[in-house]
């Protein structure tokens, strides 16, 4: 049935778009970035919900490609890499990225029961999952290799690439945890009126002021 074939191609393209959005949002969440008009928790929510939506599209993509009888793609080759007689390498990469995505999603759903570290290590596999998924999308069929879809594919790669550079640069500029409070304290206290808010300067209350009194806010 050609309907399966069309459905498989279409959901594949949508899944790539969704996964790209999830990657970019994930990097934004990691840096506690914001989207215009959205509070931070909404960015996290969007990241989470789009990832679940992407899983649904990937699932339909896999099922329809298996169900389509035009080429022979065995069911198990969707999860076991390099087992498909058709496009062994490129579909195999699809299976690899599918497995990685499943690992990332399952550990996120079970995050409550996992240590932060275990969850994070698995979650970092996304950075492996996405490029493999992109290579699979690009080479498994000719769809993305010309026309509008080529521009789309390159656009996705640029979006994730730029996001990654931004994320690494931001992480490199991080203030060590132990120094953050001191910096913010210095900043907010400099912003108070007259540049200071001390209780032992000329504005200090009370009559018995003593030079040794230390109520300075710096």
């Amino acid at each position: 049935m050609t309907a399966f074939w069309y459905a498989s191609r279409a959901t594949g393209v949508v899944a790539l778009l969704l996964l790209t959005a999830v990657m970019v949002l994930g990097m934004l969440v990691n840096r506690q970035g914001r989207l215009p008009g959205l509070p931070r928790f909404a960015v996290t929510g969007l990241h989470r919900n789009l990832s679940l939506l992407a899983v649904i599209f990937v699932a339909i993509h896999v099922l329809t490609s298996v169900a389509d009888g035009y080429v022979n793609i065995p069911v198990f080759s969707a999860v076991v890499p390099f087992m498909s007689p058709y496009e062994r390498l490129w579909l195999g990469l699809g299976a690899v990225s599918f497995d990685l995505a499943i690992a990332v999603i399952v550990t996120s759903l079970l995050r409550r029961h996992l240590s932060r570290r275990a969850w994070r290590v698995v979650h970092l596999l996304s950075y492996l999952c996405w490029p493999i998924a992109w290579v699979h999308s690009f080479f498994a069929s000719g769809d993305l290799q010309h026309g509008v879809l080529l521009i789309l594919a390159i656009g996705c790669a640029i979006a994730v690439g730029v996001g990654l550079v931004w994320r690494l640069a931001a992480a490199a500029g991080d203030v060590p945890r132990a120094e953050r409070v001191g910096l913010i304290m210095a900043a907010v206290h400099d912003r108070t009126p007259r540049g200071r808010a001390t209780a032992n300067d000329a504005d200090a209350p009370g009559d018995a002021r003593h030079p040794r009194d230390r109520t300075s806010t710096r």
Partner: protein
Amino acid sequence: MTATTAGAFHEGSSRAAARGDLPRLLPPVREGKRPQNLDAHLARHGGLPYRDRTGMPGNPSALVRDLEEAGLTGRGGAAFPVHRKLMAVLEAAGQRGRPPAVIANGAESEPASDKDATLLWLAPHLVLDGLQLAAEAVGADTAILVTHADRGRDVAGRLRQALQERLAARLDRVPVQLAAAPARFLAGQETALVNQLGGGPAIPTFMPPRITERGLAANPTLVQNVETLAQLALIARRGPRWFREVGTASEPGSMLATLRRADGLPRIVEIPLGTPLRDLLGDAPAGPESAVLLGGYHGRWLPAARAATLTLDNRSLEPAGARVGAGIVISLPADRCGLVETARAVRYLALESAGQCGPCLNGLPRIAAAFAELASGRPRRGTREDLERWSGLVTGRGACHHPDGTARFVRSALRTFANEVRRHERGQCSAASTAPFLPVPDGAARSEDDWM
């Protein structure tokens, strides 16, 4: 004891009768403030009553049942029932087949408190007894006693000496390790404690998992305040009925409290729960501006007149929004400004943020700056409202309760010193002295090493 009966309580009347056989934990008054060595300790309290049986989740040891009957609650501030924590650790150990660890928490990171250091100094063996008995009750193979890294007295040295005595007497069944918590306000929080003992910085971690399930080295971990363990050691010897002879029906037993009056020096007393605050505050003049701080820097200011009608137990304090906490009772001298004092403490609390949760990291410095402005004498319009709003914004949004406790402290100050706030808004202050009163350490953390 209700507020009404407390109000009818007259200074000095029947106090001796109400105090029963106190002090229980600290050495008898006639012996003075001398540390008790092992001989003196054993002569007073008798030997260590090991039960020779570890409890099971379905069948806890007799000690756990005694603790439940006694109604002992944690003396570190949270007042959590001790038997429930022991049961949680037992259950986790049974389910996961891993030996638990027991940690005696003497970190006492609240600068206004000195009761844990005093207990460890004067009666180290009682705490060490409690540590052994708790380890036996949950079947622990690891026991650690954590003290504050730098307090005036050499508490760690005293404990090493006590452990030597016990080693010679072959008293301990689980070897006790000593550790020091850094001088950070959050270091005594139990997840921070476990984090630090595991080799990390002393910062609170996110829950779940609870440390009763996954704590030190991912084993079920029991963390109890040192006073709680000392109380446990007494209940193991004398039973729950004896324990309940003092205190109130709902909150039995005695507790250690740190009192600070006009001279600012800490006085450690052992009192029954439900003691009228009026007795503890002494005869300081309860003028309209005098105030009492209950529970330290995560606690609450109350007008002295209100405090004088209350008793030191959670049932009496709850309607006033206060809690017993770790038993800190500070009465502000009449010549000091409550806003200036609070501003210093809030600044300290902001600097002690672990810097890992946004609301705390960003909110507390702003709150501290605004409070300093309020204290400075010429606050801008709206500063007070900002403080109220920000206090609401940070509450409940951290991995630990640091933002919540700080917000509670700030709000109580705004209410208790409302008249003083108005005076400051007019550029006046009623205080005669700005000499610092509340004990606030001055060194803030600058690097990760300061948290280790």
